[in-house]
């Protein structure tokens, strides 16, 4: 077998193992909370008899490991269980919101990743000169703004001063792609501002690090233009560190954008999770937690694999 395939298979197997461990951790974490689901449903004033009856009917009397494997088995077959608060099927409720989350994340990523890398390359090219300082300064200030401040600022600017967009990002099933894009424009702009700096700075640092190499001097002595030196000779050797930071930010775009969702009234997974944490609806919290963990692990495996594939020593062994 080609060593790359082997390495990739190893990474994926490791990721699955990790996911299993995380599922256990999530289960144990919710298990360790004081009270249980029955208590949560019935409230503080429940009688002991009512509690016992409900526990019996929910199967909470069974040992923890039985319930864990039950839960895990359900998830593996696509059954996330039922939300306690409203009796809805969790899988169904998540499905649509996950779509919204991924759509928003994808839109933000499509703009922010190329832009961040391009800005990083330009900053590296003009290292220490004014373009570098302007790019670094601007991105640093956008990342320093709390998300909701940035969000309100963008709303004010683009709906009041220049009324181009609507302030609320309402999406609903059956909406056309173009309408959807218009609806998410403002949250996407905010998210781009938030994630740009980190990726741009890593690109710049990784490129500058590679620029110390002897082969960069060789390229300069070949009379290549500075941008060509960076793009052709430095960038291919800086992919691994850049990708690892890019995926961290992609993961953040999926799992960490609840504030932006709330500000824009965007109906997605983060808001759903926070709502149900407040209601102590543990099956929902567990399910969403597991999905977020899967996204995180999956993206990091992707970064690993890209890092491996971008290394010619692994791609073309002796």
């Amino acid at each position: 077998m080609h060593p790359i395939l082997k390495l990739v298979a190893q990474r994926i197997a490791l990721g699955l193992l990790l996911l299993l461990a995380v599922s256990l951790l999530i289960f144990l974490g919710t298990e360790a909370l004081p009270g249980d689901v029955a208590q949560a449903i019935l409230g503080q004033s429940a009688t002991p008899e009512a509690l016992a009856n409900l526990r019996e009917s929910l199967g909470l009397n069974r040992p923890a490991y039985v319930r864990y494997f039950d839960w895990l088995g359900g998830i593996l077959t696509g059954d996330f269980g039922v939300a306690l608060t409203n009796g809805q099927d969790i899988g169904q409720a998540i499905g649509q919101r996950l779509g919204n989350t991924l759509f928003l994340a994808a839109c933000a990523a499509v703009i922010s990743v190329p832009l961040a890398i391009l800005l990083g390359l330009i900053a590296a090219r003009y290292n220490g000169r004014w373009p570098d300082k302007v790019i670094s300064g601007v991105t640093l200030s956008t990342i320093s703004l709390p998300e909701f401040v940035a969000a309100y600022f963008v709303i004010f600017l683009l709906t009041q001063v220049f009324p181009i967009f609507q302030p609320v990002a309402m999406v609903f099933p059956g909406m056309g792609f173009w309408e959807r894009l218009q609806a998410v424009a403002l949250p996407v702009i905010v998210l781009v501002l938030v994630v740009l700096a980190h990726m741009m700075r890593m690109t710049r640092a990784a490129i500058l690090n590679v620029m110390q190499s002897a082969y960069i001097e060789t390229a300069e002595l070949k009379g290549l233009s500075p941008m060509r030196v960076i793009w052709q000779h430095a960038f291919p050797n800086a992919i691994a560190p850049i990708v690892s930071v890019v995926v961290l930010n992609l993961a953040y775009l999926v799992v960490g954008v609840v504030v932006v969702e709330v500000v824009f009234g965007y109906n997605a997974l983060g808001q759903y999770l926070v709502d149900h944490v407040a209601k102590r609806d543990l099956p929902v919290v567990q399910a969403v937690g597991l999905i977020f963990a899967a996204v995180y692990i999956g993206l990091n495996i992707l970064a690993d694999v890209i890092g491996i594939v971008s290394n010619p020593r692994l791609r073309h062994p002796k």
């Binding site: 190499s213 002897a214 082969y215 001097e217 060789t218 390229a219 300069e220 002595l221 070949k222 009379g223 290549l224 233009s225 060509r228 052709q232 000779h233 291919p236 050797n237 971008s310 010619p312 020593r313 073309h316 002796k318």
Partner: protein, 543 residues
């Protein structure tokens, strides 16, 4: 006919930032004038810091780091390139002048195929179409003796050997048909047997393409084989400049004479004596591999004498040292030291075992803690082995410093404030501080300039006479071996192929490998390379 390159009164400066002091300008090259005619080779020779690379790169108007060309003229093809702007210089670099770096392994981009890199300038300067450039690259690969020239360019840098990379780099420099190639120590990092082949390939390529060259090296014997003229440099100033024959046979300056006569230490071989170290049938392999890096190695080292272990990189010399020091426990065989059996593993050795067996390394820089003073570095074994402290320790450190001929004023310095040779001396003092019976010297002079290396060898010989310490001297440099050894072991692929007293090992008849190794050492005379190659061709024709 006007010269291709004419450098007049060149002055190069840089800003240095000494710790704790205000930055100041230092002059790297001062008032140097040379010229190179079309198709001629000028050798630039000197120690590190002599400014030879700096001058070489100035022919491309390139300054490494903060290096600035501050005075004089650099006239290439009839115009002063110092006045050219960035765009003009880009048009010149990689087209009229190309560069071959010392370490091709570092100078090739690891992420791109060799062919892409070799023809890159030819394409980016619009000199040829891709197909034509590739055909020329393949032709050059063939001329430089690379294996499978047709497919060689498809490989990545890590897939070929160091010697092959150096040839590929030469092909890269020659591909755009430049007027001038700068060779910056192109064979220094190679094994002695590989060096000859690469040197011959470079010489032939220069001759066939009619290109002019600047050949930079610290090894006069090497440059004598390829250059027409030689410029000897010291501390950025010209020492002597003339035709190669005059420099080699009739040097006018003392410094040049010292360079020519370097490596002429005469060391009488000592009489046989009882062994302090005895390695018997040692076989070893690295964890997780199924390949023996040492195979059945048996050598003896008499007390107070020197056993030189010679061989190319990868021959197992350093692995032998690791086995003796306990870093790599042998899978078979035994090691006896000072009359007692040495345990294979480091953890099971006594403090005396550790004390009596010391090491000195190739890179003195990385072998010392940069944040400790010389006094702390040398004092550490005194504390550790003898429990010395305070004034007694300081006195002893000073004694040791006197022994390594460094005297007063160094004890409170940091390694960064020492020269390369001084750093290596401090490492020697640190080894001596433990009062060892045996010091393993792993390529201790390889990173040093010839004259400095000579000084270190003389010091080691003096110390051996005073302290009766034995050396296991690992090196790839046969001249060093002749200067210091009493016994020699020649290693090849993990085995000792020839072993005995110095006279025996260096007296014919030789085995094939020792013959190759000995005949590959450049000799300080004109025409040696041709003779050697002819001799080899005759041999291979005879076989």
């Amino acid at each position: 006919m006007a010269d291709l390159l004419e450098i007049r009164n060149l002055r190069i400066e840089a800003t240095s930032y000494p710790p704790g002091e205000p930055p100041r300008d230092v002059v790297l090259v001062d008032n140097v004038s040379v010229s190179v005619a079309k198709g001629k080779v000028l050798g630039l020779i000197g120690e590190s810091g002599a400014g030879k690379s700096t001058i070489g790169l100035s022919a491309m108007a390139y300054g490494r780091g903060g290096v600035r060309l501050t005075g004089g003229q650099i006239i290439l093809n009839g115009r002063d390139i110092r006045g050219m702007g960035p765009a003009g210089l880009r048009a010149l670099r990689g087209r009229e002048v190309t560069y071959v770096a010392q370490s091709a392994a570092a100078a090739f981009n690891p992420a791109k195929r060799l062919m892409e890199q070799v023809i890159e300038t030819t394409l980016s300067h619009g000199l040829m179409a891709r197909a034509e450039a590739e055909a020329r690259a393949v032709m050059l690969f063939g001329k430089l003796g690379l294996p499978n020239p047709e497919t060689f360019g498809n490989r990545y840098p890590h897939q070929v050997s160091g010697g092959q990379l150096q040839r590929a780099m030469t092909a890269m420099a020659l591909c755009p048909k430049p007027d001038l190639v700068i060779f910056d120590e192109p064979t220094t990092a190679l094994d002695v047997t590989t060096q000859i082949d690469v040197l011959a390939a470079i010489k032939e390529a220069i001759h066939d393409t009619g290109v002019a060259a600047l050949y930079i090296t610290h090894d006069l014997a090497v440059v004598a084989q390829v250059a027409d003229d030689i410029l000897v440099l010291r501390q950025g100033k010209k020492v002597e400049y003339g035709p190669v024959r005059q420099i080699i046979t009739d040097p006018h300056e003392d410094y040049t004479r010292a360079l020519v006569s370097v490596r002429s230490i005469d060391h009488e071989e000592k009489a046989a004596a009882p062994a302090v170290l005895s390695v018997q049938n040692v076989t070893a392999r690295y964890k997780g591999t199924n390949f023996d890096v040492l195979k059945n190695v048996t050598v003896d080292l008499p007390a107070g004498q020197t056993l030189a272990v010679v061989g190319e990189s990868g021959s197992g010399k350093s692995t032998l040292a690791r086995a003796i020091t306990g870093l790599l426990p042998p899978s078979q065989g035994r090691i006896t030291f000072a009359g007692r059996a040495l345990s294979g593993a480091l953890q099971e050795r006594s403090k005396d075992d550790l004390r009596e067996l010391q090491m000195i390394y190739q890179m003195a820089d990385t072998a010392m803690n940069p944040r400790q003073t010389v006094g702390t570095i040398i004092g550490r074994p005194l504390e550790f082995y003898f429990g010395m402290g305070g004034e007694a320790k300081r006195r002893r450190v000073q004694e040791l410093l006197d022994q390594i001929e460094m005297g007063k004023g160094y004890i409170d310095r940091y390694p960064a404030e020492l020269s390369g040779g001084q750093k290596q001396r401090v490492c020697i003092a640190r080894a001596l501080a433990a009062k060892p019976k045996l010091i393993i010297c792993d390529e201790v002079t390889s990173a040093l300039d010839p004259l400095v290396a000579d000084g270190i060898l003389k010091l080691l010989l003096n110390l051996q006479a005073q302290e009766h310490v034995a050396y296991l001297f690992i090196t790839h440099d046969l001249a060093t071996v002749k200067a210091i050894a009493d016994k020699i072991a020649v290693m090849y692929r993990g085995q000792v192929v020839r072993y005995g007293s110095k006279t025996d090992v260096l007296t014919p008849p030789f085995d094939d490998y020792t013959d190759l190794l000995l005949s590959s050492v450049p000799e300080m005379r004109l025409g040696w390379l041709e003779e050697m190659l002819a001799h080899r061709k005759m041999e291979s024709a005879g076989n």
